[in-house]
Amino acid sequence: MLQATDLACLKGDRLLFRGLALTLGPGDMLRVAGPNGVGKTSLLRLLTGLTWPEAGEVAWHGVPVRREREAFHRALLYLGHAAALNDLLSPLENLRFACAAAGDEDVDEERCAQALVRIGLARQLDLPARVLSQGQRRRVGLARLFLSAHRPLWVLDEPFTALDVNAVAELATTLSDHCAAGGTVVLTTHQEAPFARAPQVLDLGAYAC
C-alpha cells in the first residue's frame, strides 16, 4: 500500500505543489494528470524515493520508503522519461541487464527474448539500440513490464509516448491486467488509452501553488 501525506515539492524558486496526499491499494490505477510542467514527473520521482520531498512523507505499507529502501524497491518498477538503454548493447542485452541489475535473478535470456518478441521487436533482437527508432526504444523499456508481474507497484512516466496505436492498446491491456491481478499502477500520460476500467485521476493542477 502506497501512501503519501502532505507532500510538497520545491524546484528552484518554484513550489510546484504542496499538501498533496494519496493512498493507493491493490488493484488501484492512478493517472496523474495536469498540464505540461505542473509537476507530474517530479511527483513520480518523489513516490519512488529517488528524490526527497521538501515536506511530507511517502510510505509503503506504513513504513517511510527511505527507511526500508530495499524492501520498497523490491516491490517497485519505475520507468521514467529516459529509456535506460545503452546504445551499444542490443535490446536483448539491455533487457537482460536491466533485470539482473534490478535483482530479478530468475529472469533468463529465454524469457527476455520472449518479452521482446511479444512487444514487437522480434526483428530487432540483436541490433544495437543506437539504430532503433524512437518507438522501438520505448518498447525495449516497456518489455520489462512483462517480466515484472511479481512487483506490485508500477510507476510509469508517459509510457505511451512514441508508441503506435496498436502498441498503445496492448500496453493499456497489460496495465489493466496488472491491476486486475492486484497490482497498483501510477502513470502519467497526455494521451487517451483504452483501459479496461477508467483509472482514478489525480489532477495535479488542483494542488499547484
Binding site: 530495499e70 529516459a82 535506460a84 538503454l85 545503452n86 546504445d87 551499444l88 541487464f97 534490478a102 535483482g103
Partner: protein, 222 residues
Amino acid sequence: MLSSFLAILRRDLLLSWRGRADLLVTLAFFVVVVCLFPFGVGAEPNQLRAIAPGVLWVAALLASLLALHRLFAQDHADGTLEQLLLSSEPAVLWVLAKITAFWLTTGLPLVLAAPGLALLFDMEQGALPVLTLSLALGTPILALLGAVGAALTLGVRGGGMLLALLVLPLYVPVLIFGAGAVDAQLGGTGATAHLLLLGGGLAGALALAPWACAAALRIAME
C-alpha cells in the same frame, strides 16, 4: 548479491569490448603522451632517463583521469543509473563492480604497456618489475578515488574538467609513491617501503571509496 555484482561486471566488460576503440584508445593516449615528452623537453638521453619514471607515472595518471568521465556519464544520461539506484541490491556492490570493470579495461592495459614504454626511455631493466608493480598497485587507487570524483560531478556543468580539479590533489600521494618507488629502486635504496605504502593506500581506498562513491551517486540523483 554476487550474481548482480557479476551481471554488472559482465555488462561493463562487454560494453568496453563493443566500444573496443575506447579500450585501445586509453592505452593509445598513454603511449602518445609518453612519446610526446621527448618532443617537448628535448632528446638528451641522460635527462630523459632521469625523468622517465615521473613521465610514465604522470602519463598513466592523466590517461586514467581522462577515462574517468566515462565511468558513469553514459549510464547517467540514458537513465540506467536511476534504475540501478532503484535496485534492491546494495549500491556499494554495483559501484564496486563498475569500478572493477573500469580498472580492468583502462588501468590494466596501462600496467601491461608501461615496461615497453620504459624501454623507450632507456630505463634500467632492473627497475621494470618495480615500475609494473607500482602501477599495478597504484592505478586501482586512482580508479577508486576517481570514481568518487566522477560521481560527485555527475551531470554538473563543466563536469569533465571539474572532475580533474577535484581528483588531482588526491592523486598526488599516489603519484609520489608510485614514481618514488621506481626512483628508489633506481637509486639503490630499494622500493619496498614505497610499495608497502601503496598497498596500504589501496586497502584503504578499497574500504572507503565505494561507500563514498555510492553516497555521491545517490546524492547526484536528487
